[in-house]
Symmetry: C2
Subunit: 350 residues, 2 copies
Amino acid sequence: MQEKFRTIHYGIGAVGAEVLRVALQRQDIQVVGAIDTHPAKAGRELGEVLGLGRHLGITISYDAEFLLRGTSADVVVQATTSHLITVYPQLVQAVASEKNVISSCEELSYPWTGQGELARKLDRKAKEAGVTVLGAGANPGFVMDVLPLVLTSTCQEVRSIAITRVVDTSTRRLQLQIKTGAGLSPQEFRFRVSDGSIGHVGLKESLFMIAETMGWSLDEVKESIEPVIATRRWETGAFIVEKGRVAGLRQTAVAMAGDREAIRLELQMSLGAEQPRDSIVIDGKPPIKLTIAGGIQGDQAAAAIIVNLIPAVVKARPGLLTMRDLPFIPWWSARGWWKEVPDDEHLRVL
Amino acid sequence: MQEKFRTIHYGIGAVGAEVLRVALQRQDIQVVGAIDTHPAKAGRELGEVLGLGRHLGITISYDAEFLLRGTSADVVVQATTSHLITVYPQLVQAVASEKNVISSCEELSYPWTGQGELARKLDRKAKEAGVTVLGAGANPGFVMDVLPLVLTSTCQEVRSIAITRVVDTSTRRLQLQIKTGAGLSPQEFRFRVSDGSIGHVGLKESLFMIAETMGWSLDEVKESIEPVIATRRWETGAFIVEKGRVAGLRQTAVAMAGDREAIRLELQMSLGAEQPRDSIVIDGKPPIKLTIAGGIQGDQAAAAIIVNLIPAVVKARPGLLTMRDLPFIPWWSARGWWKEVPDDEHLRVL
């Protein structure tokens, strides 16, 4: 095996930058390229844009195709937007350059049900190029899908799964506060929901991953997004939210199998949300009731998951995979496990 | 792929019987043989011994070698005792008959550190025979090792892992109450600990699985077993525990890496233990603090895990594996996922 995994980073926004900060600390990863078309980033030195106080010898390229074609790398970390249709051309560029891709695109976390046609096309292209494409993240990708599925391995029977994630956005980045509608009037909120600029992307993908893995045929999927109204005034550093205006959102996706509520996913993200947590309730034998106090910090976890998965994605079979399809990749994998493994066969689990 | 996975069940004790009850309900599993040398079981009809109220057409054999050689099967579920050295000859019998093995033997859950020589021998024999051997269970095997390792996939850094499992044995089977010393005097308890007849087997195995997966070199491992004294009188159905006598045990394993307490595992199993739960605390970035209220019911979960893993073990590469080495196997896998998978390649994850 080569000394280090060479990575190119496509998109240096909040997630992309956090991934880079983690990757740059890893001795088994070598960052060899960066792409971003934002005028404030393209053409600048990567270390400067990341605020590292040192140069990395990497200039952020605005020309993805040129950089991807001209640079040898094992993995492209693609982290731009949430919607698959927008990200698709970027994924295809990366695949065409015969590089594996890990993407933070929420809709890529489980596109098989909701966007089957794009998923199949991407799967075909990846197989033709002999590379792996994976949608990865903390949510979707772990907290509300893979983690509950892992827990079902202890069940003789599963009747339903309910997951609640409550995030206090006052402790999180501005971008998330904006994405959850903080500061809007309830009326503006509803308008922004209807045009798709507000709301968490990925709840349906989590739901579909669970349903298909459990083998449940669903008769109906209901999704709703409601505003959470501020009961006090908030100053978030960047803007002020008066009492009575929107503090965030409560988003729900419910899957019915006949009369049975098979899956319920509830996500509340708002300023000062009480009892922030992740909770998973499996009505099964045995029943499971799990709570993660405070909830898993999404930005940090997403970057960790993406970086931890780099070696696995390099070794994985070609095609479009989801996090459900990979073996679990503990933190240590990124500390050199892959290099110390005696032979390749050891990695071939099945 | 064949229609059903054929299984032979070696050991019809508490765990073995629960595995059978689950397996018999699965449409993708066909039970084809049973072995037990206990005079009350050998030679009897399996359905009768299980208390099913119906015959299964299977007589429990006392002659393992004869049955294993003469019966075609995919997997032997071996569930007899906790210690690898005792179970080893039975595992070798099963391997020699060229069948995959899933064993509930606690010390087999991660034998590489504590019993490296036996582990290597078994691994070699399994590879020669072209079969997989796996130690599986809820604890060890999931609650105090695999589950925390799965959670580390969300971490950029992990400094230490602490796991507490509290089981109220008044709600559990007699055998567990006895195994945890219920009813003894504190003096008898200490004697029984010293001769190894009391105590949970597997805490060190969980600890070693975590340490090796995290890549931590340990400088010291401390293990202790203390009695929990009954603060009231208990009648457990089978026997009476007076106040002041032993209600159960508290067992601890701690791993030091230099001055750092890298891993702490605490297991309390006693009559009326307060706040029964599984709790996992990862000191990392992000930190994770997880609690499973009531704790995962070990007997039910162990049987579920073993049955859910049957298809995976049939497909897995030869050799001695641990639950850390397999992809996560959700409940549905046992409901036919493996049969509906379009091609074998889909199962080859890495």
